[in-house]
C-alpha cells in the first residue's frame, strides 16, 4: 500500500491565502480533475492514463525544474515512471498530489545529485516555470501553497537565466526545501516528513537557502 505524506492537507486546503485567492476555485477544479483521472486510470482505463499524464506533467515539472535544473527532463520522466508504475497501489486517489509531490522531490534531488558533476546549467535553455515561482515567493515573503498557473505566465528568458544561475549555486537539498516551503506551501514539519529529515534540519536548510538565494540575487 502506498500512502501519501503524513498530511493529507493537499494544496486545496492550504491556509488562508487559498480562501482569498480568486484562482482557488479553478485550482480546486484542476485538482479534482486529476484525482478523477487517477481513479479511472487505476480501474484500467488507459485513455485516462494518457490524460493523467498530460495533466501531471506541468505539476511535476514545476517541482522538478527548480530542483533538478539542467537535469529536469530526466527528473520529470523518472518521477512519472515511478508514479505510473505504482499508480495501482495508490489506495487513496485523493492523496494523488501529495504522493506525486513526494516522488517528484525525491527523484529531482536524486537526479540532481547524480548529475551534479555535469552541471553547469545552460541558462539559455532554461524555462521559467517553477523558478519564477520560487523568486515570487521569496520576494513576497509568504507561501502561496496552491500550485501554479502552469503555462500561462509570461516567460522572461533573462530573468529565468538569472534565477537558474542563482539556484544552481544551491545544493539540490536546499533547492528542494525552498520549493516545498515557498512554492508548495508546506510547513517545516510537513517538509521534514516528506524529505525524511528532522524538522530542525529543514529549518536550518531553509534559513541558509533563503539567505543564500537573497544574497546571490541582490549581488
Amino acid at each position: 500500500m502506498i500512502s501519501a505524506v503524513s498530511d493529507e492537507r493537499t494544496a486545496d486546503q492550504t491556509p488562508s491565502a487559498a480562501r482569498a485567492d480568486p484562482g482557488a476555485d479553478r485550482h480546486a477544479e484542476t485538482r479534482a480533475r486529476g484525482i478523477e483521472l487517477a481513479g479511472q486510470a487505476r480501474r484500467g482505463d488507459t485513455i485516462a492514463m494518457n490524460d493523467l499524464l498530460d495533466h501531471l506533467i506541468p505539476y511535476v515539472a514545476s517541482i522538478c525544474n527548480p530542483i533538478a535544473l539542467s537535469s529536469r527532463q530526466d527528473a520529470v520522466q523518472e518521477t512519472l515512471v515511478a508514479v505510473f508504475r505504482a499508480l495501482r497501489s495508490l489506495d487513496r486517489p485523493d492523496a494523488l498530489y501529495a504522493w506525486v509531490r513526494s516522488i517528484a522531490v525525491r527523484e529531482a534531488v536524486r537526479i540532481a545529485r547524480r548529475d551534479a558533476r555535469d552541471i553547469p546549467v545552460e541558462p539559455a535553455d532554461f524555462t521559467a516555470s517553477g523558478t519564477t515561482a520560487v523568486t515570487a515567493e521569496l520576494g513576497s515573503g509568504h507561501s502561496r501553497g496552491h500550485g501554479h498557473d502552469h503555462g500561462t505566465s509570461s516567460h522572461d528568458p533573462h530573468l529565468a537565466a538569472d534565477i537558474a544561475d542563482v539556484l544552481a549555486r544551491l545544493s539540490p537539498e536546499h533547492r528542494a526545501v525552498l520549493v516545498l516551503r515557498d512554492v508548495e506551501g508546506l510547513d517545516e514539519r510537513e517538509a521534514a516528513a516528506l524529505l525524511g529529515v528532522p524538522e530542525g534540519t529543514v529549518k536550518s536548510r531553509l534559513h541558509r537557502a533563503r539567505a543564500g538565494f537573497r544574497r546571490m540575487w541582490t549581488r
Partner: protein, 179 residues
Amino acid sequence: MNDTSAGGGPEQPAAHESDAVLGAVGRLEVMVSGIPGARIAADVVPGDFADVWLVMGDLEGGFGRFQPDMRDLRVTHREGERVTAYARSRFGFRARLHGVVRPGWCWLQSRFLVIGMAAEPLPDGTPGTRVALTGGVRVPGRAAIVPVGAERELHRALTRLRTELAATPAGGTDPTPYD
C-alpha cells in the same frame, strides 16, 4: 472519399503543451511503465518528422498498412485530438477504438486492444526521426497487455513502417480512399 473532418489525414490538432516538457518517446515509456505486459519497440527511421508522422498518423491510410494485423480502419468521429474509429483485423476481428491522436502521439484503446505510437525529431537537427511503438492484445477492461508475442509484433510493425516510409515520397501521398 474520406471524410477529412473525421479522417486521419493532414487535418490534425496542435501538439500538447506537455509535449515540450517530455518528448513523445519519453511519454510512451511512462505509459508502458504503468501497463503490465507492455513492451516498447523503438528505432530511428529516415525522414523528417513531418513526413514520418504523415504516414504514422494517417489512421485510414499509412497506419493500417504498417500495423501488421490491421486490415482497415475507419475514423467515425474526430473532435480536436479525440478520435473514435472502427478497425477490422486480417482475421476478421472488429474493434471500436477510441483515444487521442496529435502530431507525434497516438494512443488508442478498445476493450481488447491497446495501440500506442510516438515520434519525435532527433535533437540538434540531426536527420531522421525517433519512433516508438507499444500495444497489443489488452487484458479485457484492464490496463494490461497479454505479453505473449507482443514484442515480436511491435518489431514487425517497425519493419513494415520502414517499408511504408520508403515507398512514400517526402510530403506524403493523398489519403487512401476508404470504400
